[in-house]
Subunit: 199 residues, 2 copies
């Protein structure tokens, strides 16, 4: 027998189905929603429906947008001959925060991962190849995470793009800015040495 | 400039407004909702609306219910002359799980807390007094948490109920079942000694 009313149990289950939310947290969140003023709870429900219905991928770069194309692809000041390939929409945000990159993006929506049965066809790779085939792109920067899956994905795409003769680069490996060398791992230090540059 | 589309930012803000959810978690949750199949996201939004509109407090015990009165107050087999006073609806669930209590409940929806500016008028205390004034109740068990705020609230209600001549009891303090005495705090041990009973 459930002791909470059914609609409340249902809401708790919805929250508990979200990643990283356990049963106790789900209860706390559901109680919080019940305690919200009427308008705020409605706004929450509406936000879910609105985001779900209006947010889709940009037909050019596959980033999330609610317009026809995303704000970056629409921006004439961005260099569309330079494409930064990232795994997730939030990675675009990280690069934009760094304010260093003037090109455009391509969002793969994941990385290849045999463990999770994610192959090239589950990612937006054919869309990238199509952009390169257009012939207007001079450089593709592979900016997937510097881990096994990110490296594998970058390598796979690099091989695919080879026939087009486009320059493909990978983000530099090295010690992070502000890091303490004492705590840097061996692999990172080895890559930092390998990639050393003249001062 | 927000780099996520506005409806997505809006959904992230909704999640971030929930207790214990930070900005990063809110992003992860919002992305998860976007990735849900259409029906599931709709069901989530509907669950919020449904819980908010159909769940209300039982006019007798103030517990949450979607019926006219709650299932426990409706149950003829429960002893309505014995009232267990708890702070929150989830405390009712804890007692019901213990399967020891055959009486009914009264949910205060909080405890008195000068720090958070919660006074007696913010709680369902007058509703409790009204139930006692009916004259049918023989015992009130104060089952607020064994902390300062819970104790203060229990004491306040005890004083209010005195004129009615009803028996008011407090949950026993002591060492929790299965606990290791080595790690029990002094206050708990002192209360456990004070409340010792003949074997």
């Amino acid at each position: 027998m459930a002791y909470f009313p059914a609609p409340l149990e249902n809401l708790i289950d919805c929250f508990a189905a979200l990643p990283g939310i356990g049963k106790k947290s789900a209860q706390r969140l559901a109680f919080h929603v019940l305690s919200l003023p009427e308008g705020r709870a409605e706004a929450f429900a509406a936000a879910i429906m609105e985001a779900k219905s209006s947010v889709h991928t940009c037909p050019v770069c596959q980033n999330l947008t609610d317009g026809e194309r995303c704000a970056i692809c629409e921006d004439d000041r961005r260099d569309s001959t330079l494409i930064c390939v990232v795994a997730e929409p939030r990675d675009v945000l990280s690069f934009e925060r760094a304010r260093e990159f003037g090109g455009v993006y391509h969002v793969l929506h994941g990385v290849m991962s045999p463990m999770n049965r994610i192959g090239p066809d589950d990612l937006k790779i054919s869309e990238l190849v199509e952009r390169i085939a257009g012939g207007q792109v001079r450089e593709v920067i592979m900016a997937t995470n510097p881990d096994t899956e990110g490296d594998t994905t970058a390598m796979y795409i690099w091989r695919l793009l080879k026939p087009f003769g486009v320059k493909v680069t990978r983000l530099a490996y090295g010690v992070p800015v502000g890091a303490n060398l004492e705590y840097a791992d061996e692999a990172t230090l080895a890559r930092a040495l390998e990639g050393r540059r003249e001062m």
